[in-house]
Each structure stands twice: as C-alpha cells, then as structure tokens.
Amino acid sequence: MVQSFVDNRILSYTKNIHAGAENLDNGNTMARVRVDDTFLSAELEMEVKIPDLKIVSIQGRIIRSFTEECENNAEILQRAMGMRVGSGITRLVKETIGGSNGCNVFADMIMEGCNAVIMGFTVDELDKQLAAETDEAFGQVLKDMLENNPRVGSCIAFVEGNELRRRLGV
C-alpha cells in the first residue's frame, strides 16, 4: 500500500559547533571555533601561549543573529586576554564574558576553544599509547593509564574497583 501521508519531522532547531586547535610556528596554539544555529552564526579565534596556557590574542564576530544588537558585542572578548586555560576558567569565563553584562555565545565558544587546546595535548599522548599492536601491550597501556593518572573518579573508566581495574589488577 502506498503511504498516503508523511509524518512531519522537520527539525525546529539545529546547531553545529566546530572547534579545532593547531600548533603555530611560534610554539603557541591557535584555537578556532565556529557556531551556526537557527538563530545565529559566529566565529572565534584565540591564541594560547605555550607553556603558560594564557590567552594572548582573541578576536571573533557574530555574523548573523536574531537581534542585530548581538553583532556589536565582539569587544567583550578582550576581557578574556590573559586568562589561563586551566582550573577555574569555566567560572571565570561565565562570569566575565557571559551573564547579564556579557554574551553567553562567546563565553561558550571560548570554552570550546579551551577544550580543543587541552584535547590537542591529549590526542598526542593517546595516539602514542593506543599504538600498541598486541592485546598484552594494549593491556599494559591501559594499566599504565589507570595507575599513573590522577583522575580517579573522573569518569567510568577511572572508577575504583571497576571491571577493567579488576581485570588488569590495578
């Protein structure tokens, strides 16, 4: 039987976020973030000094928004200059860049950029660790990861007494 109707499942809202981090020739890391959703489009670029992890340059713009006023808020980003990508930055960014005197879109984008910078370091490390070619070697990698990582309780993999820990004798 031919279907006589189509269930309307058109999306009422969409959002795409892209964040990336790349190493620059001067030794610093550049994070780039782009957000496109039903209401707005925005981009951000911030340079983080290595090894201090301080934001040394930042610029961005809101290209499209529901209210034109949002497109004039880019100077807010300069408040992030000198912030250190590390402990406490989430609250600092929310309070300084976001909130009633700021722009939550830019605050979220800075956090995406910070995450990309940190994950950039993690990828390098994981890439080396996960290159193990045998089950035994991979087991050793996981064991080292669990034994040497201070993040006990930070996620399901690091929960004390879980199956993986028991199996590896950690």
């Binding site: 999306l11 959002k15 976020i17 892209h18 981090a21 039903t38 990828v123 399901i156």
Partner: protein
Amino acid sequence: MFEFTRSKTIGVEKREDGIFLIHGFLDDNVYTIELDLGVKTPEFTIVSAKGLMKRYTTPECPKAPSILDDAIGLQIGGADFETKIKKLVGRGGCRHLADLFIECCNAVFPAVIQTQWKIARSNGMSKDDFIKGLVSDEPKIRDRCMTYSRESELVKRLGVSW
C-alpha cells in the same frame, strides 16, 4: 594542520503533546558519541535518554550511557543544572557524553522559541513585537545577556521594563 578537531551537531524536532526530541552527535579525533533525548515542555523535564559510544579509549567507555537512566526526570535549567549533569553523567559515565548532553539540553529552549516565532511570523507579527512579548513574558530571557538586559538599547527601544 589541526592537532585536534571536534564537531557537535544538534537537531531538535517537536513531536506531539509538547515533547521535543533532541538528536546529538559528537565527533572528534578521539570520540564518536550519539545521544537522543526526549524533553517534555513546558516543564522541561527529561523523559527519555539514550546514548551510544561509537569510538572511545577504554573498554569501560561503552558502559557510560547506562548512567543516562538516572537523568530521566531531571528538569532542565536552574543555576546548578550543568554542575549536576557534569557530576552525574560526566563523573559517573563520560565527560564528553556529559558535554553533548548539556549541549542537547541547551537546545530545547531555542527550539521552543523558534516554534513560537514560526507561528507568530505566519500570523504577521513583527520581530520587534515578538521579542517584546518574549522579554515581557519569559523570565528566562530577562538579563540572560547584555542584549536582553534591562540596560540594553533593544530593551529600552521596545519599552519593556522589569
């Protein structure tokens, strides 16, 4: 060359009886994660949550979505909502899954606004009048950011006060 890239895609569809379905997808150098949430409005209560870890780093990671059952019944919003999710879904499961979860939850309110705006626009309402009504009737909007603060040019121009 990018050392790390992450893409997050969120789509929200409105279903019957005030239920919004949110589909989230996260893909980066390390992880691929999918998440489907159901949220009932106007209460903004999570009524369903299913996740799938497709690419990960340890054999424990695929178990992380099982923690999502504990998120059913939670109400989106409030000052400590993100902290609660980071603890429940992040520490108890996976912090990248929690990141996607928060992103999906944050998409519900704009989806509701978009649904209202679509109806208002088809009825001939101007954007200014729609925003005026929104700021007047919706406490979540007021002082949310500098554009919707009581000191903003927009709010003053529209003649709204609180």
